[in-house]
């Protein structure tokens, strides 16, 4: 067993750190063993040193999955680079695993780079349970045979020197290891430990600091390699949060006062965070009895002048459709956040997907025009909420903000926002209404109208989801519904005129344009950059507004020989024997682009996987460049 000996017995003296551009590191453990905390700390320290980071959570589908099980893998992937990164990268360069089983799922999913480094807890080798020992040995041999560079680490043995329950300390030992391996500032690591455990008292802090230092020392002494990733220390303050926390912060910052929700993965953590902090700024989170009630509650609140948001994911979003139609019809501002997950039906609650786009645009019976926008990175999660609230109240309409499971748990530093009172809505108007004013006095050019808020003297009227006229009276005459529908549709057109053409990433014209929306931005742009580096004429454009769409997009599409939509949702494959242009079911955005611009947008979609990787997009692009038309 040469690989084994190699690692534990070496006692290196001096280790010059190898300079690398970036690494993708994964830390995997059974759920409850703290790999996530370790990974997040590793990312935070790296970010504080000025490295680019992107973290991806690896979440088991069960609450308490069996120990040492493939599906039980819990942890983090951290991409660390000498420059800003906007996705989790392709395959891992280095993996720390608390047992051999949690590795297997990642291996099967092809998440490890060939020959990558694996740091493996070695205690299983000598387990008295021979089944475990056998399994460990088998996997170990196999990894070595496959060419992975496996280092066995006596994590438990080392931790036991310091603490009695190593299950609760191993993660900080590993953090120490990683700090050594990536030449991180150990002082920052100590501060991180203070930050995490500070509340639990000095004893806990000290114990964990010792574990950290032990890990660091062990690596310095026993491991024969060391990396250094360059850093550009930040000139300004950055914040590091995941997408769902950014949404929560955005809600606070937008001046919305009420969040009505019903728990559902992966949206719920927005409300968890908000439940903790919203009251501190005078807001309230209401957990309703179901999603319909949550949406109706938000509508009531917004109607009464307290702008509200309702947050959900797929199944809850389907349930809210009737209520959304009411808000559209009655012209009540409402922000609906849908953190998309794998569908259809209950589907894959913790997996990322962008499958709800067309439903967002076309959902709710009858003509129910609403604004649909999507956040494309963590910072965008924050600012999109503020924009959404503003549009909702300016146009008295529903704004659907799409995020997804990928952004929900990913972390990436971005410039600390500077709070501005302009983000907030003006206080509720309670001034008397003029005698001539009408609750739906639609502007014939823009479709907009005032709305009267209860409490405004002279503004009394009954709002209704029935067809109604400008005075909000039920309309029995023919043609009145048409007038209202017309004006509601106009509002989208009026908003559309204010939207900016999205910038093109890469050259303004060329052979291939990749187009996407939402969380795939980082992966797409990185893939495009890679093939551009090879001299290929490829650009990309990323949409923030899906309904309405900014002007100028058609012109962009037309400047390229071919347009490829890349999305995290289903697209039929034209190569499939059964599929042809008469029955092909295109990806979501492709439908819209094809219909609106009559451009032959081809598409590639992925479902049921991890967040789309830049390498995957790169391969798709290269195949397109090989000119296999309609392959996807």
């Amino acid at each position: 067993m040469p690989a084994r000996k190699q690692s534990v017995q070496r006692t290196p003296v001096s280790k010059p750190a190898m300079a690398i551009d970036e690494h993708v590191v994964e830390i995997l453990s059974d759920s409850g063993e703290g790999a996530q905390k370790c990974g997040q700390s590793f990312a935070s320290i790296s970010a504080r040193m000025g490295k680019g980071i992107w973290t991806v959570e690896i979440i088991p589908a069960e609450i308490q999955p069996p120990a040492r099980s493939i599906e039980g893998a819990s942890g983090n992937r951290i991409r660390v680079a000498g420059y800003p990164v906007a996705n989790g990268g392709d395959q891992a360069d280095l993996v720390v695993a608390f047992n051999e089983q949690v590795l297997l799922g990642r291996l099967r999913a092809n998440e490890l780079k060939p020959g990558s480094i694996i740091l493996l807890e070695d205690k299983w080798r000598t387990s008295i349970d021979t089944a475990i020992a056998d399994s460990y040995n088998r996997v170990y041999e196999d990894l070595v045979a496959q060419g992975f560079c496996v280092y066995e680490i006596p994590m438990e043995v080392e931790c036991l020197k310091l603490v009695s329950d190593p299950r609760r300390g191993k993660n900080m030992f590993v953090l120490g290891l990683l700090c050594s391996l990536y030449s991180l500032d150990i002082q920052l690591a100590r501060e991180q430990i203070q930050f995490i455990f500070g509340k639990k008292g000095e004893l806990v802090v000290t114990a964990n600091r010792r574990l950290l230092e032990a890990g660091w020392a062990w690596a310095e002494k026993n491991l024969d390699f060391k990396y250094k990733i360059p850093a550009t220390p930040a000139k300004e303050a950055n914040i590091v949060v995941n997408g769902n926390m950014a949404l929560g912060l955005g809600i606070m910052a937008s001046g919305m006062e009420v969040c009505a929700m019903y728990p559902i993965t992966p949206a719920t953590s927005v409300s968890h965070y908000l439940s903790d902090v919203f009251e501190k700024v005078g807001g309230v989170v209401h957990q309703a009895e179901d999603e319909i009630a949550a949406c109706a509650f938000a509508i009531g609140s917004s109607y009464a002048g307290k702008c509200a948001v309702t947050i959900t994911s797929g199944p809850g979003y389907s349930l809210k459709q009737e209520c959304i139609g009411l808000a559209v019809m009655a012209e009540i501002p409402l922000v609906v956040i849908n953190v998309q997950r794998g569908g259809p039906s209950t589907g894959q609650p913790t997996k990322a997907e962008q499958g709800d786009l067309l439903m967002s645009i076309f959902g709710s019976h009858g003509d129910a025009p609403k604004v649909v926008m999507a956040a494309s990175d963590i910072e965008d999660c924050f600012f999109s909420v503020i924009t959404a609230r503003k549009i909702a109240e300016t146009f008295n309409t529903v704004v659907v903000l799409l995020s997804d499971a990928s952004l929900a748990t990913a972390q990436q530093p971005f410039a600390r926002p500077q709070f501005s009172e302009e983000w907030l809505a003006p206080p509720v108007d309670q001034s008397p209404v003029g005698d001539e004013d009408m609750p739906y006095d639609w502007d014939d050019r823009t479709g907009q109208s005032h709305r009267f808020i209860p409490g405004q003297p002279n503004g009394m009227h009954t709002l209704t989801g029935l067809a109604h006229d400008r005075t909000s009276s039920v309309a029995y005459d023919l043609g009145i519904n048409k007038e209202a529908i017309h004006h509601r549709s106009l509002k989208l057109a009026a908003l559309q005129k204010t939207l900016k053409t999205p910038p093109v990433f890469g050259d303004d014209e060329g052979k291939l344009l990749v187009i996407g929306w939402g969380s795939t931005k980082g992966a797409i742009q990185e893939a495009v950059a890679r093939v551009r580096a090879d001299g290929h004429s490829v650009s990309s454009v990323h949409l923030r507004f899906l309904q309405p769409m900014a002007s100028g997009i058609k012109e962009i599409l037309q400047r390229f020989d071919r347009v490829l939509a890349v999305e995290n949702n289903w697209a039929d494959d034209m190569e499939d024997a059964m599929i042809d242009e008469d029955n092909c079911r295109y990806s979501g955005l492709a439908w819209i682009l094809r219909a609106r611009y009559l451009v032959d947008v081809v598409c590639w979609g992925e479902v049921g996987e991890q967040p789309i990787k830049p390498g995957t997009v790169e391969r798709v692009i290269r195949r397109q460049l090989d000119n296999k038309h309609q392959e996807y």
């Binding site: 005078g282 307290k306 989801g465």
Partner: protein
């Protein structure tokens, strides 16, 4: 929106609002519809209370009864079938200054809206809820309702319905954080007014089941009770319903019932041979959700800014130099 000077002045006593002020567009219910009596009682109550028109919101679902808000001169929200209660909750949550009334039907409340009803009862937000129970689906033209008595011939039960009627009174008396439950009938105006008034003055979720005649689809349905006051049982209490002497002579079956006695209320609802009307239960101490959830902080730009900065601090990486 032009501001008229008179709107800015406090109303003087001469400017008492009249019944006409509380009227909206002309009601479109069928002749003889019990909803008309309920409307009259409510308009009178608001007039007597001199509630400012702009401070009142009537919220409803969908159904004949849910047309109610249109017929009031106040604000109104004619919502979705079954969803009146959560909408009303959203309105009340941060607008304690508004008087919120809810009109709902037996289908609206007990069928499609049943989950919301149960939870609204528990939230116990301060609002007055009138459930117009005509034992039938009126607006959609005579389908069976949960409260229809067994054997009811309707468009969907042409040979008579199969199930015993659902009893909303017993059901609501089984819900949690209960605050106020009453029953009354559209055909006893004095009592109707009195009960709605007591409900309005109760701080909390005041639920009134109103037996309401639908002459269009169930013409003789409530006639036995309308015709024979002896089939009614009036629940009285010194601190609740008290009959005028005129009414007392008609409705002879009166029962002193202490509305704080929940066990008794359940017993009356479950076993009374006569139709009990009056206050079944009242608990002034049941906490209101909007009070429990009232944040300690003001919702002001300064507060929001400060709160946000504090949160951002937690996640900030400061430049290292």
């Amino acid at each position: 929106m032009a501001v008229r000077a008179r709107d800015l002045l406090p109303r003087s006593s001469e400017e008492r609002l009249t019944l006409a002020d509380y009227e909206g567009c002309g009601p479109r219910w069928c002749t003889g519809c019990g909803d008309l009596g309920i409307l009259t009682a409510v308009q009178r109550l608001l007039r007597d209370e001199q509630l400012p028109l702009e401070k009142v919101v009537f919220v409803s679902g969908i159904g004949c009864s849910s047309r109610f808000p249109h017929y009031m001169g106040t604000y109104g929200f004619h919502g979705l079938h079954g969803r009146a209660l959560p909408i009303a909750e959203g309105i009340k949550m941060r607008r304690p200054d508004l008087h919120v009334f809810v009109n709902t039907g037996d289908g609206d409340c007990c069928s499609i809206g049943a989950a919301h009803w149960l939870h609204a009862t528990r939230y116990n937000m301060n609002m007055t809820v009138m459930m117009h129970d005509n034992n039938i689906y009126g607006l959609t033209k005579k389908q069976v309702s949960p409260t229809s008595p067994i054997g009811t011939r309707s468009s969907t039960t042409p040979r008579g319905s199969d199930l015993e009627a659902f009893d909303p009174l017993i059901a609501t008396l089984g819900m949690s954080n209960l605050s106020f439950v009453a029953q009354v009938a559209d055909w006893i105006p004095e009592l109707l007014y009195k009960v709605i008034s007591l409900a309005f003055h109760h701080r909390g979720f005041s639920f009134i089941r109103i037996l309401q005649r639908c002459p269009e689809f169930l013409p003789d349905h409530f006639e036995p009770w309308v015709q024979d006051p002896d089939r009614m049982q009036i629940l009285t209490h010194e601190d609740g319903v008290q009959l005028s002497s005129a009414l007392s002579s008609v409705y002879r079956h009166q029962e002193e019932h202490d509305p704080s006695d929940l066990i008794k209320a359940r017993e009356i609802a479950a076993t009374s041979e006569r139709m009990p009307v009056g206050i079944l239960y009242r608990n002034p101490d049941a906490p209101c959700y909007e009070d429990l959830r009232r944040p300690k902080q003001l919702f002001t730009p300064a507060m929001i800014g400060a709160g946000l900065e504090k949160e951002l601090d937690k996640f900030t990486i400061w430049p290292t130099d």
